[in-house]
Amino acid sequence: MAKQTLHWTDQYVEDLIGNLLRVGVTVAAGVVLFGGSIYLVRHGLAAPHYRVFVGEPADLRSVSGIVRDALALRGRSLIQLGLLLLIATPVARVAFSVAAFAMQRDRLYVVVALIVLAVLMYSLTGGRA
């Protein structure tokens, strides 16, 4: 057991985290690009509408709505799914840090990372004050 604790040095943990983030960004960018192609093929010739703010429809605001519509291969929902994956990479990083600090037997920082994770979760589930 002591050997395993020794193995989880700061440098090793940071290497793992760095790779985790890079994979996350690459996958997210791929999904966004895929969804973007579908969106441009279907709607590319319409006129853009960003001068006036109307806000997004409910389907593109919630995690469940995005996933449901993305599975139906709707372009805008697929892009939104990619963006959701992108938002999830730092969250995954913090979640991973909780585990890594636990492996290092660093209780103080397990608590610190859990607090950060809780704030992120609050925001992702709607941030209702």
């Binding site: 983030l21 890079r22 853009p48 960003y50 703010f53 963006l83 999830a88 990083r93 913090v94």
Partner: protein, 278 residues
């Protein structure tokens, strides 16, 4: 102009913003929002939503490279992220309540300050290491590689660094930027952490901070996929290219030049905010 042309235009603009942002160390976010609002007439709320996700992408994309250099301090970063994420959620909730004119003015002021801060020459402080009881209990002291071997450093003034980080979080959530400049000030100036450790730890923190406000923005319908797609893809490619060039280019006159250009954009943002023509 149809959506294909608009998307291409936004993509190229974001590419340039990401490139310039990484060359100057300002980050793409603070350049892309004025570009979208002033030049392309996009509503500032859509612009901020789109920028926020690109900020996450550049931070996470660059983190792998920084980690390899062994400069960032994950404990300092994680502890201060409590402050930045709480600030970011607060800022994002504020952003949904105040007028776009006010947001535009605050953006202009922050832009002005960033331009000033980035045109100043960078210095490496050589601080003495007097262990601070609170920082030591939080295990914030560490060492970083230099040409003369590893050099130890001690953190101090944790409460003031923490407060500054809360402010950085509010700005990030309110304006959809990484607010790396304020984060570096908090660590480098207030807490006495070496500049290189501060900048890399700051970059590491930016993604988590932005994710905290991105959830709120997504839930409120401020993130439009059609706009965020070209912004994110453009900024990512631009900043990757910028990071490659950075190691070779002489950036001092570049920073001055871009500082000037950004100053002009800042004044325009403030003017538009005051006259309400945005």
């Amino acid at each position: 102009m149809n959506i294909i042309e608009f998307t291409l235009l936004v993509w190229v603009s974001s590419l340039l913003a990401g490139f310039v942002g990484s060359l100057t160390g300002l980050g793409g976010g603070i350049i892309i929002t004025p570009l979208l609002t002033l030049a392309l007439g996009v509503d500032i709320r859509y612009a901020i939503g789109a920028t926020l996700v690109s900020v996450i992408a550049t931070s996470s994309g660059a983190a792998a490279a920084y980690v390899r250099e062994g400069f960032s301090n994950i404990r300092i970063g994680m502890f201060l992220e409590i402050a930045t994420t709480l600030g970011a959620v607060t800022g994002a909730l504020f952003a949904t309540k105040i007028s776009t004119g006010t947001i535009s003015m605050i953006f202009g002021l922050v832009l002005l300050y960033s331009a000033y801060a980035s045109s100043r020459p960078r210095h490496e402080r050589v601080g003495d290491c007097q262990p601070d009881p609170l920082a030591s209990r939080l295990k914030m002291n560490g060492s970083y590689p230099t040409p003369d071997g590893p050099k130890a450093y001690c953190a101090k003034a944790v409460p003031s660094g923490f407060s500054l980080m809360f402010g950085a979080g509010i700005l990030s959530g309110l304006l959809g930027i990484g607010s790396g400049a304020v984060k570096v000030i908090a660590m480098d100036q207030a807490m006495g952490i070496p500049f290189k450790v501060s900048t890399t730890t700051s970059n590491f923190m930016i993604g988590v901070t932005a994710a905290a406000s991105a959830g709120v923005y997504l839930g409120r319908g401020y993130i439009d996929p059609g706009l965020a797609m070209p912004v994110m893809l453009g900024v990512v490619v631009g900043s990757l290219v910028g990071a490659r060039v950075l190691t070779r280019a002489k950036t001092r006159w570049l920073r001055l030049l871009f500082g000037l250009a950004i100053g002009i954009m800042a004044i325009e943002m403030i003017y538009h905010g005051l006259t309400g023509r945005l």
